[in-house]
C-alpha cells in the first residue's frame, strides 16, 4: 500500500505512514486524484529533520470518508519534478515547501514566493520584490491595489492587467499578515497559549479554528469529549456561519450601493454576535471553545433566548431577502458576474461555500463529519451550479436558513454541562493527527506531529482561503474592474488565515 488510510480526527503512529521514494510518492498521489472529482488534496507540507525534509501529503476521499496519507524524504538541496505540473491542486502547497525549505521544482509553472515567512529559506528577497507577471503592450495597462486597501480590511496586494475597463489577469500577492503562528505553536507549550493562538489564526473564524484545534488535541491526547462539548462546538459553528454570512450579505449590498440591504443585514448580524456575548462574554466567541472543557455552560435560559432571537431575526431576514433577491438592479450586478466553472473549481481544488457555488459537493459536515453532524442531524450540502457572484450570495442566504434549522434541532436536546475542570493532557509520542472542520468559509485543516517524547514537532494549519484565493483571481477575468469589489466580497477570503 502506498498510503495510510485514516479518518478525520484520528491519531495514527507516524511510523505507520508509508515512506515512499519521491517518484513513487508523486505517482501515487497524482493517481489518487486522477479523474476523481470526489478527492482533493487537503494538506501537503514539509517537516524539517536534522539533515533532510519529510513531506506529507493528505488526500481526502469524500465518498469513502477517508484520508490517504503518504510521505517522502527529500534531500535539503533537492531539485524535483513538481506535482503541480500535472495537477494544479498542489500549486500553493509546493510554493510553500519551496519557500520554507528551498526545495527546487524545475517544472512548476508558477514557482513564486508564497507568503514571505520570517523563516523562509531565501532571505535575500523581501516582500517589496515580488515578481509580478507583467506584459509589454501599448494597449494594456496595469492597476495596483494595496497592500493597504480603501476599506477597513486586511492588507494584500492585487495587480490587475486590464484592457480598458476589462480585467484580463489578476495576480494576488499575500504575506503582509504573516505573524509566525505555526512556529509559535511549537514555542508556546502551555495549552491555553496554544488555544489562544488557535482563536487568533483568523478572528472571523474563531469557532472554526478553535474547534479544529480542540478536536485535534483531544484525539492526540486520547481524550473523548462528552456530549456537552460536542454540542457546544456544533452549535457555535452554525452560529458563526449565520453571523458571518449575514455580515457578508450586508457587505455585498454596500458594494452594489444598496443602502437599505446594507443597513438591515448589517444590523441583523448584531443579535447573533451579541448572543455569543451572552453565552461566552465575547462577540466573536473568543474564549468559548477549549480542549477538554467549556467555561460557559449552555443553559435552558440561553436556549430560550436563542429561540426568541431566531424568531425576530427570521422575520426581518426573510422580508429583506425577499426584496433583495427580486430587485432587478441587484440581480443585474450579481448574475453572470465573476464566474468560476465547476471544471475550474476542480482544477484549483476549491473548498467550502465557494466550491459549493460552482457545483462541487465539498462540505466536511457531510463528507468527513465531526462533532454532532450526523449524530443530531444529517447534513445535506446545498449546491449551486452557475458559479457566479449570485450563486455565492444566494447560497449564503440558503445556508443561513439551514443553519438556523440545525440550531433549532440542537436546542431540542440540551445536554448536562459539567463544571469545567482542567484535564491533564499529554500527547502520545510519535503520533500524527489530522483534523478537518467545515468553518463558515470552508474546510479548515490542522495537522500535528509529535516527537518521541510527545512534544509537538510540527503544527500545520490550512485555512480554506489557501485554496480559494486562486479562484478569486480566476473569477474576475473578462469582468469589468468595477465588479472586482463585489467578486472579492462574494468570496470573502482570509488574509491572516492564509499568511498565518
Amino acid at each position: 500500500m502506498n498510503y495510510l488510510e485514516m479518518y478525520n480526527n484520528q491519531t495514527v503512529s507516524i511510523n505507520d505512514i508509508p515512506k515512499l521514494k519521491y517518484v513513487e510518492f508523486m505517482e501515487s498521489n497524482l493517481q489518487l486524484l486522477k479523474n476523481k472529482p470526489e478527492r482533493h488534496c487537503v494538506n501537503y507540507f514539509g517537516v524539517k529533520n536534522e539533515n533532510n525534509i519529510t513531506v506529507y501529503c493528505c488526500i481526502a476521499d469524500d465518498n469513502k470518508h477517508q484520508l490517504y496519507i503518504s510521505s517522502s524524504i527529500l534531500a535539503s538541496d533537492a531539485t524535483l519534478s513538481s506535482l503541480t505540473a500535472q495537477n494544479h491542486n498542489f500549486e500553493k502547497f509546493e510554493r510553500e515547501i519551496h519557500e520554507n525549505f528551498g526545495i527546487a521544482y524545475f517544472d512548476h509553472p508558477w514557482l513564486k514566493p508564497f507568503r514571505f515567512s520570517h523563516n523562509r529559506s531565501d532571505k535575500n528577497i523581501s516582500i517589496a520584490d515580488y515578481p509580478f507577471y507583467s506584459t509589454e503592450s501599448e494597449e494594456l495597462h496595469e492597476v495596483g491595489v494595496g497592500p493597504i486597501h480603501a476599506g477597513i480590511i486586511e492588507p494584500g496586494h492585487f495587480r490587475f492587467i486590464c484592457n480598458g475597463e476589462q480585467i484580463l489577469h489578476l495576480e494576488i500577492q499575500l504575506g503582509y499578515q504573516h505573524r509566525g503562528v505555526e512556529q509559535l505553536f511549537l514555542h508556546k507549550t502551555k495549552l491555553l497559549e496554544r488555544a489562544t493562538l488557535a482563536e487568533n489564526i483568523a478572528g472571523d473564524t474563531t469557532v472554526g479554528h478553535t474547534t479544529t484545534f480542540s478536536n485535534l488535541w483531544e484525539s492526540l491526547c486520547d481524550f473523548t469529549p462528552d456530549h456537552s462539548l460536542q454540542f457546544s462546538r456544533t452549535l457555535a459553528l452554525e452560529l458563526e456561519r449565520i453571523a458571518i454570512h449575514t455580515g457578508d450579505l450586508a457587505a455585498i449590498c454596500a458594494d452594489i450601493a444598496y443602502q437599505l440591504g446594507n443597513s438591515v443585514y448589517g444590523r441583523l448580524r448584531t443579535p447573533i454576535v451579541n448572543f455569543f456575548q451572552e453565552w461566552g462574554g465575547n462577540r466573536f466567541a473568543k474564549g468559548l471553545i477549549r480542549p477538554g472543557k467549556i467555561n460557559f455552560p449552555f443553559t435552558p435560559e440561553l436556549a430560550q433566548r436563542l429561540s426568541d432571537i431566531f424568531i425576530a431575526y427570521e422575520r426581518d431576514f426573510n422580508e429583506m431577502s425577499e426584496q433583495f433577491f427580486s430587485l432587478p438592479s441587484v440581480l443585474s450586478r450579481l448574475e453572470k458576474t465573476g464566474i468560476v466553472t465547476s471544471d475550474e473549481a476542480l482544477e484549483i481544488g476549491m473548498v467550502g461555500i465557494a466550491a459549493r457555488s460552482s457545483g462541487l459537493v465539498r462540505d466536511i459536515r457531510y463528507s468527513h463529519p465531526n462533532n454532532l453532524y450526523i449524530k443530531s442531524f444529517m447534513h445535506k450540502p446545498k449546491i449551486k451550479i452557475q458559479g457566479d457572484v449570485f450563486s455565492r450570495v444566494k447560497l449564503r442566504e440558503e445556508e443561513i436558513h439551514q443553519s438556523i434549522f440545525y440550531c433549532k434541532k440542537l436546542l431540542e436536546n440540551i445536554p448536562e454541562f459539567k463544571k469545567p475542570e482542567n484535564i491533564p493532557f499529554s500527547p502520545g509520542s510519535n503520533k500524527f493527527t489530522l483534523a478537518l472542520t467545515e468553518g463558515w468559509r470552508g474546510e479548515i485543516c490542522h495537522c500535528a506531529i509529535t516527537d518521541e517524547n510527545g512534544n509537538l514537532k510540527n503544527y500545520k494549519i490550512k485555512d480554506p482561503s489557501h485554496h480559494n484565493w486562486m479562484a478569486l483571481a480566476q473569477s474576475v477575468r473578462n469582468n469589468e474592474i468595477s465588479d472586482f469589489p463585489v467578486c472579492n466580497k462574494s468570496f470573502n477570503l482570509s488574509y491572516c488565515g492564509h499568511d498565518l
Binding site: 515567512s117 520570517h118 523563516n119 516582500i127 517589496a128 497592500p147 493597504i148 477597513i152 480590511i153 486586511e154 492588507p155 504575506g175 503582509y176 499578515q177 504573516h178 505573524r179 509566525g180 512556529q183 509559535l184 514555542h187 508556546k188 502551555k190 491555553l192 497559549e193 488555544a195 489562544t196 487568533n200 483568523a202 478572528g203 472571523d204 474563531t206 455580515g247 437599505l260 443597513s263 438591515v264 448589517g266 444590523r267 448580524r269 448584531t270 451579541n274 448572543f275 456575548q277 451572552e278 461566552g280 462574554g281 465575547n282 462577540r283 466573536f284 473568543k286 474564549g287 467555561n295 426581518d316 422580508e319 429583506m320 426584496q323 469545567p420 482570509s494 488574509y495 491572516c496 499568511d499
Partner: protein
C-alpha cells in the same frame, strides 16, 4: 419602492440613543476588578497566556490581556470581569488594574495635546491599517459605523485615503511585512495627526508579542495618542474612547 419603505418601517429605530450609558447584554468581559483575597500568587500569574498578570503587586494589564476570562474561571474570588466597556485611555499605565482598584479607566484631558480638542473636536476622519490584525477588530471597527452604533453621527468616519485622514487606527501586532507600508501610510497623513492603537494585538502584540515575524519599531518612534483595549475592541469602547479623547474638556 413601497416594499422598501415597508422594510424601513418594520425596522423601526435601531440606533442606540446614548452610547455613553448603554448597557451591553449578557456577560461581556470588560474592566476587571481584582480583590484583596489571598490566593496562590504563582499559579494565578502563571495561568495567563499573555503574561498580562503582574506579580510584584498583583495587577492585570489590559493592554496585554486577551480577555479569555480563564483567570476569572479558576480564581472567581480573586478577579472578576465587570461589563464596563470603557477601556480606552491616552495613558498606557492606566490600562493596568491593581489589586483592590475599582475606578473607571479614563482619558486624562490634561495630557491630551492642546490642538486635538479644537481641531478634531467636531470632525475626525481616520485611516485604518490592519498590520497583522486577525480581522475581528476590523469587523468591530466596521460595526461601530452600522445603524446601531452609528459613530458617524459624531462626525467620526473612516476614509479611504491617508491624504484625507486626520489620523491612523492600527490593529494587529504589526508584522515585519507590514512595517514599511504602515510607516508610508502614516507619513502620507497631513499634520496634525493622531495614532490610535485598537485591540490587544496592537497595544502589546498580544499572544504574538515574542514572535520573530513581527516588527514593532514604528510604535517607539511616534507618540501614541489613544489606546483602545479589547480582544476584539467593542464598538462602544471605540466610540467612547474617541469621544473622550477628542471632546473631554480639560
Amino acid at each position: 419602492m413601497f416594499d422598501n419603505l415597508k422594510i424601513v418601517w418594520h425596522q423601526g429605530k435601531q440606533f442606540i440613543p446614548d452610547v455613553t450609558t448603554e448597557q451591553v447584554p449578557g456577560i461581556f468581559r470588560g474592566r476587571p476588578i481584582i480583590t484583596n483575597e489571598k490566593v496562590d500568587e504563582e499559579a494565578f500569574v502563571e495561568l495567563c497566556p499573555t503574561k498580562a498578570i503582574g506579580s510584584s503587586s498583583i495587577c492585570i494589564d489590559l493592554g496585554k490581556c486577551t480577555f479569555c476570562g480563564e483567570c476569572a474561571v479558576q480564581f472567581p474570588n480573586k478577579i472578576k470581569f465587570t461589563t464596563d466597556y470603557k477601556l480606552s485611555t491616552n495613558i498606557r499605565e492606566r490600562l493596568v488594574i491593581y489589586e483592590g482598584n475599582d475606578k473607571p479607566i479614563e482619558v486624562d484631558p490634561t495630557t491630551v495635546r492642546k490642538e486635538i480638542h479644537r481641531i478634531f473636536g467636531h470632525s475626525l476622519k481616520l485611516r485604518q491599517v490592519s498590520a497583522g490584525g486577525d480581522n475581528s477588530c476590523e469587523w468591530e471597527l466596521t460595526a461601530s459605523n452600522n445603524v446601531q452604533f452609528d459613530m458617524s453621527r459624531f462626525g467620526i468616519d473612516f476614509v479611504a485615503s491617508p491624504r484625507h485622514a486626520d489620523g491612523i487606527v492600527i490593529t494587529g501586532p504589526i508584522t515585519q511585512n507590514m512595517a514599511e507600508p504602515l510607516e508610508r501610510c502614516y507619513n502620507a497623513i497631513p499634520e496634525p495627526k493622531i495614532i490610535i492603537l485598537a485591540g490587544t494585538d496592537a497595544i502589546s502584540g498580544g499572544i504574538f508579542a515574542d514572535s520573530a515575524a513581527i516588527d514593532r519599531s514604528f510604535l517607539s518612534k511616534y507618540h501614541i495618542d489613544l489606546y483602545i483595549a479589547g480582544n476584539p475592541v467593542h464598538p462602544l469602547t471605540i466610540i467612547n474612547g474617541i469621544l473622550d479623547f477628542t471632546r473631554k474638556k480639560r
